[in-house]
């Protein structure tokens, strides 16, 4: 070890000794930093945990997907859209899907979905449900786990077989005592053989509140081949209501465009808008880009972090002021010691270093304890409240770094003040 680093080490040792001389005072001084660091880490961990859940949901929608949904046009537009026999004609078409697939670069595949609200019956049981007409690769894009049996196949699609796949929740309600597989359920006036059970990866209780999954809420889905949905239900849907009935013609309720990679999403989004805009005179569809939602969620998280972080940083600042206050008192108290050291050959910078080291030892010591508490607190919070918390490395480094910086910044003034003392005056000090 070279003499300089040895000298530094002995200065640190000396600083610790001086602090140990007033244990209670040092502990109380540290408390401010301990709470500050602890709250920075804990608050950021809670914020991180909260936004993590939301982001996971959005990620499940698929960051390489663009979701198009049919939208019933607003009231005035509806009148203009009246087709023959009072039918409202709106929404996405098969042609839209084909056009996107063939003209937009980077499109991997396009998943069409028809959604029809109906009741599904088995024996005396009747459960309201959504009948989703779709293609065999639906599970890969939306995230479905096949629990039993199988999902729809190409053969089903081609042969227009009357087969269906139920979600687990629906199956439990419809078949409380039986195995649903190979039984037939009735929807509208047709029977469908149950070939599989699936579970959504996005369980309803995990859904975000913004309703990004609006098209398919609740766990009550019946999946049938798209061709079957087309032929059995037809394109014109009639909804009976108190005043009469209303007919609407919707070809597709949803198109999920899967891109080759995430990078293609942002260029494809405006291209799809332009393409569809050419064929849709009215605003009868919406585009949801999960990637953008993700970006927004990240943005929100950043703001959240800044707010939480600043509150916590203020407590660190207060802790720092506490340290400075004590160090100023210490300098006054130890004026004579400073004089003696100066007489024995200490330069101004030796004195500065000595007091600075004491402050930094206080704040870094407080910082270390604070980090320990800050890592434990979120765990305790998670245990007690089932809030998700995530302690990130950067928050620990940030909090610890700030505590060190606080020590230096707030220690510098008292240390400089100590060094500026006149040795003669200091020696005479009682």
């Amino acid at each position: 070890m070279n003499p300089l680093s040895f000298q530094f080490l002995s200065t640190v040792r000396l600083g610790m000794k001086s602090l140990m001389l007033h244990k209670l005072r040092s502990a109380l001084t540290m408390l401010g930093i301990i709470f500050g660091v602890c709250s920075v880490i804990a608050m950021l961990a809670i914020g991180e945990g909260a936004s993590y859940a939301a982001q996971e949901e959005i990620k499940k929608l698929g960051s390489d997907n663009i979701i198009l949904r049919s939208l019933k046009p607003a009231e005035d537009a509806k009148l203009a859209g009246l087709g023959r026999g009072g039918t409202i004609d709106y929404g996405l078409t098969y042609q839209d899907g084909a056009r996107i697939q063939s003209t937009i670069p980077g499109v991997r595949r396009v998943l069409p979905v028809r959604i029809i609200r109906e009741n599904v019956l088995f024996g005396p049981n009747s459960v309201p449900c959504q009948v989703l007409g779709t293609l065999p690769f639906y599970p890969e894009i939306v995230g479905l786990d096949v629990v039993r049996g199988r999902f729809l196949t190409e053969t089903d699609e081609r042969n227009m077989d009357n087969v269906c796949v139920l979600t687990v929740g629906l199956a439990q309600r419809l078949f409380p005592y039986q195995d649903p597989l190979d039984h037939s359920v009735k929807v509208d006036s047709f029977y469908y053989r149950v070939v599989g059970l699936v579970r959504e990866q996005n369980l309803p209780e995990h859904r975000t509140q913004q309703g990004v999954m609006e098209g398919e809420p609740l766990d009550n889905n019946v999946y049938v081949p798209l061709s079957v949905s087309r032929t059995r239900f037809g394109e014109v849907l009639i909804r009976r209501s108190a005043g009469g009935f209303e007919a609407e013609k919707v070809e597709l309720h949803q198109l999920t465009v899967q891109m080759n990679d995430t990078a293609a999403v942002e260029t494809a989004d405006p291209q799809i808008k332009t393409l569809l805009g050419r064929f849709h005179s009215r605003n009868d569809y919406e585009i949801v880009v999960p990637l953008q939602l993700l970006r927004q969620a990240e943005q929100t998280k950043r703001i959240f972090n800044v707010v939480l972080g600043s509150i916590a940083a203020i407590s660190l600042l207060v802790g720092g002021i506490g340290i400075m206050n004590i160090m100023l008192a210490t300098v006054t108290e130890r004026t004579r010691e400073i004089g003696v050291r100066r007489a024995l050959g200490a330069k101004r910078r030796d004195i500065t270093l000595q007091f600075l080291v004491e402050t930094v030892v206080l704040s870094v010591g407080g910082g270390l304890i604070g980090v320990a508490l800050g890592v434990i607190t979120p765990i305790v919070v998670s245990q007690l409240t089932d809030m998700k918390t995530i302690v990130t490395l950067w928050s620990v480094l940030l909090a610890f770094g700030i505590s060190g910086a606080v020590g230096i910044v707030f220690g510098l003034y008292p240390a400089k003040a100590a060094a500026q003392l006149d040795p003669i005056e200091a020696l005479r000090h009682e």
Binding site: F6, Q7, S18, L21, R341, R342, A343, A346, K347
Partner: protein, 245 residues
């Protein structure tokens, strides 16, 4: 390198304190003084005579307003602060009236303090420091703290500390002022022995009995050396008695 013959060389040293406005205190008014190596000099005088100012200047704690001060052949009268600190640590050993040990350090650590500020690796000086503690009779108290020691013991630690850098000059400010006469005498005996071994001593005191031990007593008044009493001839650095001081 042997120490140069004259340790302290004051030429027309003046010290003025500006009290703001027109007011000014002339604490020293052109003092000339030469102290040779191996001398034992006592400075006496009433308060306000400039005695403390002399001590501060000799000890490099302060710089003269005018005049030249050469300490061991080095002009220290206009040194910048850092160099002055360096000079103090290297060339002067201080002994104070109230001992001024550092409370949070043990005996051995207190003795080591000047070494630290010289940037020396104190591990290489453990034996040296232990020897000094032994010399002042405290080898069994190395790890005691100052508040566990009597006044006389504390002053002996201070003496050991003043010697650790092997200074040119020991500067003692009322070293017996806080001690009873018996322990005071012990401390003075120790200082006598230091002088006998060749150390140059400058001592400030009120006490004539203390001053009698010196070769040479300077009586200060109104910022000047009013008179000088030579008790006995000081030895020269080579051990021969000086013909004149």
């Amino acid at each position: 390198m042997p120490p140069p013959d004259s340790i302290i060389q004051f030429q027309g040293i003046e010290k003025r304190y500006d009290l703001g406005g027109e007011a000014e205190v002339r604490a020293l008014r052109g003092v000339d003084l030469t102290v040779h190596a191996g001398a034992y000099v006592a400075i006496m005088g009433p308060s306000g005579s400039g005695k403390s100012t002399m001590l501060n200047l000799i000890g490099c704690l302060d710089r003269p307003t005018a005049g030249l001060y050469s300490l061991g052949g080095t002009d220290v009268s206009s040194m910048p602060d850092d160099e002055l600190s360096e000079a103090r640590g290297r060339m002067i050993g201080f002994i104070f009236q109230s001992y001024n040990l550092i409370a949070q350090l043990t005996v051995i650590e207190n003795i080591q303090v000047p070494l630290i500020y010289q940037g020396r690796d104190i591990r290489a000086y453990q034996e040296h420091c232990a020897k000094l503690a032994d010399m002042v009779g405290l080898s069994d108290r190395l790890h005691h703290r100052p508040n566990q020691l009597s006044g006389g013991q504390q002053q002996r630690v201070a003496i050991a500390r003043s010697l650790v850098n092997d200074p040119l000059l020991i500067l003692a400010d009322e070293p017996t002022g806080n001690l009873d006469s018996r322990t005071g005498a012990e401390v003075l005996d120790m200082i006598d022995r230091l002088n006998a071994s060749g150390k140059t001593i400058v001592l400030v005191t009120h006490d004539h009995k203390v001053a009698e031990r010196a070769h040479r007593v300077l009586h200060m008044k109104d910022g000047l050396i009013e008179r000088e009493v030579i008790n006995r001839p000081a030895p020269r650095a080579n051990g021969q008695p000086a013909s004149s001081v």
